[in-house]
């Protein structure tokens, strides 16, 4: 625990290159009169262009942490700063616009819009930022090619395999070139071979795009690729490891 404290303290030192900065962040869920603490005063920073992994047991607070960084949830106390913006200071519309510009999400269940084709799903975030059609088309096609789905561009999600769906989700998350991509258990619903290929794909595009990736995962393969690993237990950051990011 002492080691972890030292690491955490070191991590909170001001780092101008940090894309994510958390200070004493706590989150408590209320269910009636019952209060369930999910995060208990976490502080750390994640520099830009990193492939970072948040690990921990189920219920440790990983998803809550990603939700706060993704600005889709707000902390009970403390401050969350992402891409230089303090999340709590933004209105709901401003948060939506902020996410549209800066954050890409990859979900465990893929969460594609079922009535849109692979192409349209990938194009969707670009429509939200008002990108001109020609540029949208160029980027969407390039992204589909990058994830190896050029041939499936016009297929709907229900016509794709799990791995293909997750590739579409990755393309959708990256197509707008966000500063941060958050992925919550992205390989949990995939078989090991597909999961491995997805990890390789994400690592490759992360290197190419120099986007900051933050994962919540149990997957040891994914952990082995991490530049930084944050270990959470019972809502507290207990360890911060720097890896070689293979």
């Amino acid at each position: 625990m002492a080691r972890a404290a030292v690491l955490v303290t070191a991590a909170t030192a001001a780092n101008p290159a940090a894309v994510v900065r958390l200070r004493q962040v706590a989150k408590t869920y209320r269910s009636g009169t019952l209060e369930v603490p999910a995060l208990r005063g976490i502080s750390f920073e994640i520099p830009s262009h990193r492939f970072s992994v948040v690990v921990g047991a189920s219920g440790s607070g990983k998803t809550t942490l990603l939700n706060l960084i993704g600005s889709i949830d707000s902390p009970s106390s403390g401050t969350v700063e992402v891409c230089g913006e303090e999340i709590a200071a933004l209105s709901d519309d401003a948060l939506s616009d902020f996410r549209a510009r800066n954050i890409g999400f990859i979900f465990q269940t893929f969460s594609l819009v079922p009535v849109l084709s692979a192409y349209e799903n990938v194009e969707y975030p670009l429509l939200l930022v008002g990108m001109p059609q020609a540029e949208r088309r160029r980027r969407t096609l390039a992204m589909l090619e990058a994830v190896g789905l050029t041939g499936q561009a016009h297929q709907r999600p229900n016509e794709l395999s799990g791995g293909q769906r997750q590739r579409v989700a990755i393309a959708r998350a990256l197509v707008k070139e966000p500063q941060v991509v958050l992925a919550d258990e992205p390989t949990a619903n995939l078989d090991s071979a597909t999961g491995a290929s997805i990890i390789d794909l994400m690592r490759r595009v992360q290197v190419q795009s120099r986007t900051t990736f933050i994962f919540a995962t149990h997957d040891p393969k994914l952990m082995s690729h991490a530049d930084e690993t944050f270990v959470i237990r019972d809502g507290e950051l207990v360890e911060h490891r720097k890896g070689d990011g293979r």
Partner: protein
Amino acid sequence: MKLLLKIAFRNMLRNLRRSLMTGSAVAAGALALLLFGGFAAYIFAGLETNNVQRIGHLTVFRAGYFLLGAGNPAAYGIDYYRDVIALIERDPVVGPMINVITPTQSLVGIAGNFSGSVEASKTFLGTGLIPSNRERMRQWDEFRASAGYVPDRRMSDDDPSRGEIGVGLARVLGLCGPLGLHGCPALPAARSFSGETTGAAQRDLTDLAARDLAAGAQGSNPTPQIDLLAATAGGAPNVVQLAVGGAEPQGVKELDDNFVAMPLGLAQQLVYGRGEHKATGIVLQLHRSEDLPAAHARLTTLFRQKHLDLEVRDFGELSPFYGQVKNMFSAIFLFIALVMGVIVLFAVVNTMTMNVMERTNEVGTIRALGVRRAGIRSQFTVEGVLIGAIGATVGAVLALAIAALVNHAGLTWIPPGNATAVPLRLDVAGRAALVGGAWLGLAIVTTLAALLPANRAARLPVVDALRHV
């Protein structure tokens, strides 16, 4: 917007059965509204046509006649009515609007038939008119709601003593045989009186008729004759003889039992004798009903400017039945619209609520991608509106098709206040306000119905929506 519509349309197809059920409810609503609305529109047009053919759009009276004149029409005659008619015809505003302008004389009195074996009498409500003007008025059919014009040869400008009576009055006066009417019971031999006049009155009428008509003008006229007794404007009794050219059924029994139409000159002779002939009213039939308010206002101004002691009444005031029927149909239409609106509202709310529940995770996803709350609200609202718009359009097309079928089926019916059958029609085609109004009304209802679940979806916390399974 293109993306919203694309997603909305595809989601509609994705839940095709549910969308069909909801769209069907909207279509049924549109169908019911338009068919009843078309029927009501036809009723209104028919009633208006009937009234305008009979009493014109506007009638000019001596001030006070409308409220008090029924008791003594002769006391409210318009002096120099020909000058008033000329004044109205020359007016640059009203003049061009007029189709027919004609004087009329209302009167009450006792009608008697003392020819041959029959001796019967009955109070009557009479109207003096110019037959050719009446014929022109009967041809008015702005809304094509008339059963078709059939020339009435029972009266003519060339025969100043020839008129017509109601079928009920013809029965009471024992004229069924001479007039060729069927289904009349024989008059009781011992009681040839209606009971409304006294024995003294009968004797007076008989005596007057015998004295005034001793000249034997009826001579060889083959048409049945009746005697009309009325008090002149000066209060003296006066009698004229009317050749009954025929009987015409009136839509209301009270009128049918009392109705007498006669040439204006004869009515004036009966009411004013040898004195100055006046008219009770000046009837104006306009080319177009939409000119009625302007003509009404202009005449009121004109009479005020000329210091004429005259008032103007429209057919709605003179025939309250028209307004009552219109109000009744409007109330029924409103009721149907409310019921349909509630059905559509619940159908759309139910469908959209199920859509929101099924797509909660999708809501969370696209909110996470950066769609604002307003975007979510718009998405579900557009879906509801799309189902509503398609349903309402299908309903409108069905209503137009059914209306066309009914209109070509040759069905007839007798509208309230009418004595004869007219074609049954559903005026849906060409009623842009009705079709557009029903369509728009349903679109508004579906929008409101979709807003509630759409708003609920928009307010979902993103993390809760993402957790939803």
